[in-house]
């Protein structure tokens, strides 16, 4: 009986989580525009989606912004970690506390704070301000994932390399980088995901006419939902599902990754 109740509970939550997404997927193949009735299978909304220039532009912007800000944030964040490790505990504490501010702040506050600053200094809102803002909220995630790895490395191996005649840059490349690489990768992925998913900060810092997927959906939904957005939802959900499955379960992926890491050591 207890087992049954537990299974039942899991199923209920599962339905609650997936019914809305499933609805969007079903509607994306629905012939009619109406939300409630099924009138035959079609792929025309997918064709409409591909021909919709605003939608494709928004998709492109989202990916470009996420890629550029994640790469920049990973570079800046990793360099910072290398330096922070060398600092006195007091200074380090202050910097790591400052690092928490964008993480703890409500997105709406971060968004309006950045917008106020841009406009007060006479910087007009455009793609650059969006990028700057995304990098701002991405760096803390990189620092949080690289810093623990940096602590694990410690200073001794690096110093040993210097004693053996390596230049600081060479020692960093050969000794520190391989150890912190997993942290950098997970920081990059987190930054990328956060950037793709962000709506609120982009909403406040974007210039007119610049849309990411999130701001485009927000704008269109208020006018009325078009079926091509259902097609887009299905595409987004499918991509997320496949990427996460690959990351977690692809047979041998983990083993290969581990082997590669061993090899690097």
């Amino acid at each position: 009986m207890k087992k049954f109740l537990e299974k039942f509970y899991l199923v209920l939550i599962f339905i609650f989580l997936y019914a809305p997404i499933l609805t969007l997927i079903v509607l994306s193949f629905n012939e009619s525009r109406s939300m409630g009735s099924w009138s035959g299978f079609t792929l025309k909304w997918y064709a409409a989606m591909l021909q919709d220039e605003t939608m494709m532009e928004a998709l492109k912007n989202t990916l470009v912004i996420a890629l550029v800000s994640a790469v920049t944030a990973t570079l800046i964040g990793t360099l910072a970690c290398v330096a922070i490790q060398k600092m006195k505990p007091g200074t380090r504490g202050v910097i790591l506390a400052l690092n928490q501010i964008p993480l703890l702040n409500a997105d709406i506050v971060t968004g309006i704070a950045l917008m106020l600053t841009f406009l007060a200094f006479g910087i007009s809102l455009n793609m650059g301000t969006v990028l700057f803002s995304h990098i701002t909220f991405c760096i803390p995630y990189v620092i949080l994932s690289v810093m623990p790895k940096m602590k694990q490395v410690g200073g001794y191996t690096y110093e040993a390399a210097l004693d053996l005649g390596a230049s600081p840059a060479y020692a960093f490349w050969k000794v520190i980088l391989p150890e912190i690489r997993p942290g950098m990768v997970s920081g990059f992925l987190m930054a990328f995901t956060m950037s793709v998913d962000d709506f609120i900060i982009t909403h406040f810092t974007r210039g007119a006419g610049i849309n990411t997927l999130s701001t485009m959906i927000y704008g269109q939904v208020r006018v009325g939902i078009r079926p091509s957005i259902y097609a887009l939802s299905t595409l987004v959900f499918g991509t997320v599902l496949i990427l996460l499955l690959i990351a977690n379960y692809l047979p041998g992926y983990r083993a290969r990754k581990k082997a590669r890491e061993e090899q690097m050591r």
């Binding site: 537990e6 509970y9 899991l10 599962f14 609650f16 989580l17 019914a19 809305p20 997404i21 609805t23 969007l24 509607l27 109406s34 939300m35 409630g36 009735s37 800046i76 964040g77 360099l79 910072a80 290398v82 330096a83 060398k86 600092m87 910097i95 400052l98 501010i101 964008p102 409500a106 997105d107 709406i108 506050v109 309006i112 704070a113 950045l114 106020l116 600053t117 700057f132 803002s133 990098i135 701002t136 760096i139 600081p168 995901t193 998913d197 709506f199 609120i200 997927l213 999130s214 959906i217 927000y218 939904v221 208020r222 939902i225 939802s233 987004v236 997320v240 996460l244 977690n248 379960y249």
Partner: protein, 270 residues
Amino acid sequence: MRRKLLSAPYLVWILCGTLIPMAMVFYYGLTGDQGGFTLSNIAAIAETGHAKALWTSVLLSLVSTVICLLLAYPLGLILKKSGMGQKGLLVFLFVLPMWMNFLLRTMAWQVLLEKKGVINTILQSLGFSGLRLINTPTAIVMGMVYDFLPFMVMPIYNVLAKIDDRVIEAARDLGANNFQVFRYIILPLSVPGIVSGVTMVFVPALTTFVISNMLGGGKILLIGNVIEQEFTVGNNWHLGAGLSLVMMIFILVSMAFIAKFDKNGEGNTF
């Protein structure tokens, strides 16, 4: 010494991206149109419309946080018992929706709840009369619970999964019944997870303007909506910044309160 220079870009970024912008919010919030110091933007929270919006936000986000906690905790326990580990397929299924675009997830509820939406059409085709679902506080709570539930499930499941089964067995060997095991072992050990789950749901729910706009039809104003409108439509940045200061203070106070609860919980156990 040269190595410390590597942090220069980051320090510049903290200064320009975090510290100066925060200072700007304080500056705008504490000055008037003419530039002089004033507290009127802060005091504006007492005006009926603003106070009502803040009150609605607090109420709806509290209700959503409690519902999320009540849904997530048993789920966490069941997932722990399934013993599939952090990378298990079952756990994966319950956090997957979190990675789907936030706007699309909220839109899905709009599609379900609308006047001619999925739920009403199905009800009517079965001969029932349609319900008024969208643009109600219930719809907003639904959206909040749906959007933020995974943020409650994850931290709670993580702490529960870390609890050593031997501790629970030891308690049973010493004669504790199910309720006692839960009350004196599992619950106190899971407090840190509950605290971070509550913060991760409460803060975004309190400050949202997207959910209320999409599922409340702009008729139910939350404090987030009021602030957003001051910046995008109203163009009174001073008032908007003042109200966000009030909201920040509100969040800080509630986080301090929750953190204190955390310490008490742990203090009692050990």
